[in-house]
């Protein structure tokens, strides 16, 4: 569990004091994937970097499993928190296996144990150890490098992982694959993850919790469905309703998400016509009061209830974003993996 209490980080620039992070408090529960999202300069990366003390807070308190990070040995703290950055930050002169086993090496594991662990993790992230273990990072594609970066963060079995825009530098198709893949891996390993991104689709797809930041403070902290159905500020509305973020879904209609109408639906349930696209419906929903509701009714042309969509389902559909055309992630991934190796 990670807790931030009234954390502020002040940078001095040309004599001016700027609060990059301004009185931020939140908790990430064990096994939860929390996404820190916001435009550039919102303080999301600085916030994350304070957790493993790559930056030190000016004031406030950060604790990891109840222990104040400032009271811990910094090197030791970092060795027990996995860290993934853009393009993996792999060591170019280490083989893939050596990269993965970096923290075990720092922790003094035997060579044999390190090797075994590296192979185990490479298998976990979908890279055949027989092929990849002895390669160097430059021999891998961007997507493969990212996988190695994630494997490296998992190597010492750290319960907490920090990810700083880990998929920011790869092409959109690879990114979608990696996102789906991470979601599956997370289902297996159940780590406590803090994930920084500026991509709203990525946040909706991966986040159990989304912490939306702007100018150093939190605009809203909630589940993807919370943000979608009850945005707390105008900024949240804009950020989520952003045409750009949702444009990929313009040709996906609400009808496609509809499930049978449950037996009991409250009278004041929101009604959305089946022909509305997902972005249109999202705009409708952010304007309406949906407190206490789990979803909305979908109606046909004559206004008769045709189906029901939960806010959770809508949120994950938005998360799927550009990949909405794909049938099933289980079918897509192995196929794409092969082409990546070719």
């Amino acid at each position: 569990m990670i807790t931030l209490e009234h954390v502020t980080k002040t940078f001095r620039m040309e004599g001016h004091a700027i609060n990059a992070v301004d009185d931020v408090s939140f908790t990430v529960e064990e096994g939860e994937l929390a996404v820190l999202i916001g435009p550039s300069g919102s303080g999301k990366t600085t916030t994350m970097r304070m957790i493993n003390r790559l930056e030190e807070p000016t004031s406030g308190k950060i604790s990891v499993n109840g222990q104040d990070v400032m009271s811990m040995n910094v090197v030791n703290l970092r060795r027990h928190i996995g860290y993934v950055i853009q393009q993996g930050g792999l060591f170019p002169h280490f083989t893939v296996a050596e990269n993965v086993a970096t923290v075990p090496r720092l922790l003094g594991w035997s060579k044999k144990k390190r090797r075994e662990r590296a192979e185990e993790l490479l298998a976990l992230v979908g890279l055949d150890p027989a092929i990849f273990a002895n390669r160097y990072p430059r021999q891998l594609s961007g997507g493969q490098q990212q996988r190695v970066g994630v494997a490296r963060a998992l190597a010492a079995d750290a319960p907490i992982i920090l990810m700083d825009e880990p998929f920011g530098a790869v092409d959109p198709i690879t990114r979608t694959q990696l996102q789906r893949w991470l979601r599956q891996v997370q289902q297996d390993v159940k780590k406590t993850i803090v994930f920084v991104t500026h991509d709203i689709n990525e946040a909706f797809l991966l986040g159990d919790r989304i912490i939306l930041m702007r100018d150093g403070h939190i605009e809203q902290n909630g589940t993807p469905a919370d943000l979608l159905r009850s945005p707390e500020t105008e900024f949240v509305k804009e950020f989520i309703g952003d045409e750009f973020a949702l444009q990929a879904l313009e040709h996906t209609y609400i009808a496609e998400l509809a499930k049978p109408v449950p037996s009991r639906v409250p009278d004041d349930t929101l009604v959305i016509p089946a022909g509305m696209s997902i972005p249109e419906a999202s705009r409708e929903i952010t304007q309406a009061d949906t407190t206490g509701h789990s979803g909305f009714l979908v109606t046909d042309e004559e206004g008769k209830p045709e189906g029901y969509v939960t806010y959770e389902d809508l949120a994950s559909a938005i998360g799927e974003g550009i990949s909405s055309g794909a049938e099933s992630s289980d079918e897509v991934i192995p196929e794409l993996l092969e082409s990546e190796d070719a």
């Binding site: 030791n76 970092r78 060795r79 060591f91 280490f94 430059r138 594609s141 920090l162």
Partner: protein
């Protein structure tokens, strides 16, 4: 050529002497220059003065430099090695600093974030990544040192310069050519050897990237 074939023992002896001269100087220069290069890559304000001073030293003509040193280090090998070490310093310091500065920020960030201490980062990440630069500096210094080392014979430094200066004194072009030829061969071998050594220490440089 003929002189080498007629006096293989003598040529071999002088070649070894020459190598000893150059390598002692390079070793000293590396022992001082590499730490100094690391230092100026960390303490930025030191970079300019250090590089300027070694730059100025590099421009002093070698014969003059030998002469300046004689009152302090006398006639012989010590003076020759001291002068050669000073000449080698610039290339080694500058290249070490360049190599350290070229380590990608993301890699340093990853190393810190994974819990490497200052010294571990240097030993496991930064120095290995700077190796191609450091070795380029050493290679440059060695090749230059082999040439400048020939002048050391004037102040009793020995080495292949003896052949050349003897040749000049006795107007024997065979000896001059022999000395010069051996210097060229040594320089080429040093060039080749250090390139190979760098690749040995950085096996990843041998593999080609399979894609962009």
């Amino acid at each position: 050529m003929q002189y080498i074939l007629d006096n293989p023992g003598r040529v071999f002896e002088l070649t070894i002497e020459h190598l000893q001269l150059v390598f002692s100087a390079i070793l000293i220069a590396a022992l001082i220059g590499i730490p100094l290069g690391i230092l100026i890559s960390r303490v930025k304000w030191l970079a300019l003065p250090v590089l300027n001073i070694s730059g100025v030293l590099y421009t002093v003509p070698s014969l003059a430099f030998f002469a300046i040193l004689i009152p302090y280090t006398g006639i012989g090998k010590t003076t020759a090695i001291t002068a050669l070490a000073v000449y080698s310093l610039l290339a080694i310091v500058r290249n070490t600093a360049a190599g350290m500065n070229e380590v990608p920020a993301s890699v340093v960030d990853a190393a810190r974030g994974m819990g490497m201490g200052q010294f571990q980062r240097l030993r496991l990440v930064e120095l290995p990544l700077a190796i191609p630069y450091i070795f380029a500096g050493i290679r440059l210094a060695t090749v230059a040192g082999i040439g400048i080392g020939a002048i050391a014979a004037v102040i009793g430094g020995g080495g292949l310069g003896r052949l050349i200066f003897d040749g000049i004194r006795t107007i024997d072009s065979n000896r001059i050519v022999a000395g010069a030829l051996m210097c060229i061969i040594l320089a080429l071998l040093a060039e080749y050897g250090f390139s190979k050594l760098a690749l040995l220490l950085r096996p990843d440089m041998r593999v080609k990237a399979e894609r962009g």
